[in-house]
Subunit: 179 residues, 2 copies
Amino acid sequence: MANEKKMDCVILGLLSHESLTGYEIKKRIDTTLKFFWSASFGSIYPTLNSLDQDGLVTKLEITDKGRDKVIYTITDAGREYLKQWLVLPVTKDELRYETLLKLFFGSEIGPKVTIGHILDFETKIKCELPYLEGAVRELKKIQKEEEAHSYYLLTALFGEKVYKTYIEWCEEAKKILEG
Amino acid sequence: MANEKKMDCVILGLLSHESLTGYEIKKRIDTTLKFFWSASFGSIYPTLNSLDQDGLVTKLEITDKGRDKVIYTITDAGREYLKQWLVLPVTKDELRYETLLKLFFGSEIGPKVTIGHILDFETKIKCELPYLEGAVRELKKIQKEEEAHSYYLLTALFGEKVYKTYIEWCEEAKKILEG
DNA sequence: TATTTATATATCAAACTGATATATGCGTAA
DNA sequence: TTACGCATATATCAGTTTGATATATAAATA
């Protein structure tokens, strides 16, 4: 149990809130966890199978509206495994921004192209910010209703503050390249 | 040439500034690019060999102070390849923060452990911030000396602003969990 | 009615990490 | 002076993950 795989823990974390299919897990990751985590089907489905073999989740195969699907539920052993991971110190926080990479080497290609990358980045961030602001507003409203809401709020607040800083930086960055 | 590997472009970017050994490339990535990119020896050395085979870099094997080493230099074809990548739109900017993942699932384990993760995060950021502030100060001073300095400044400025926002968030986050 | 989108799962080559292995030089503390 | 640890320098590989592709059905939409 010493070498917890990240994917194991993300999936068990989501299943600790509610039982889900692999497809639904992917959707949760792509919406709620989007701005600080990602995962592909190619890791989700094999991980679910190995979690099942290790007794950390149980499968329930059903047919819903003519479509076959498998609903996964966390077991007590799975909850224990998740808790053991949660108390371990963080091993890696990683920012991997291709935009910054292209900016760093920007002198090779000039300001026009580089400003273009900054504008693309700005557009993307400004498009995603309202979702984070909405989440913060909503979570602050329902914060007292359930303990978990405060924890969700922490991450949404992080995203909101950071994205606003990104937008401020875009303004400064454009000025530096134009001036 | 349509499917540029990221590692190819990072290495060619660094070599566009100066000729380097694989070991020195790793050092540059771990210091200058640290807060927005990373790479392991396991990808650097194989990539250098494939770049050599593709004629994008040249090898110079020398013996320095009794130690054998290989110095890599970018070719004209390599510069062209780099430029072609620089104009392409960014495909992925990714934040992958285990800290936020543990916070999101924090209700499973409680505020004490979660505040511990925030404190660890705060300590790490406060430790790295002075390096970024120093880089910004230095680059602003020598900005006019060389065109490339403005581009380095953009990335250092990004890091400085974002890290300061992280520290602000830590204060808020602790209050939310304590209150 | 036809086409697109959403649901649902599976697979795999290619890329990358993290660990491990090997070997030399250089500084320093016993 | 000699033993130890650290920096330099390269190489390899199992395990993990991505991104693409494939398959099939239901629901929505044009």
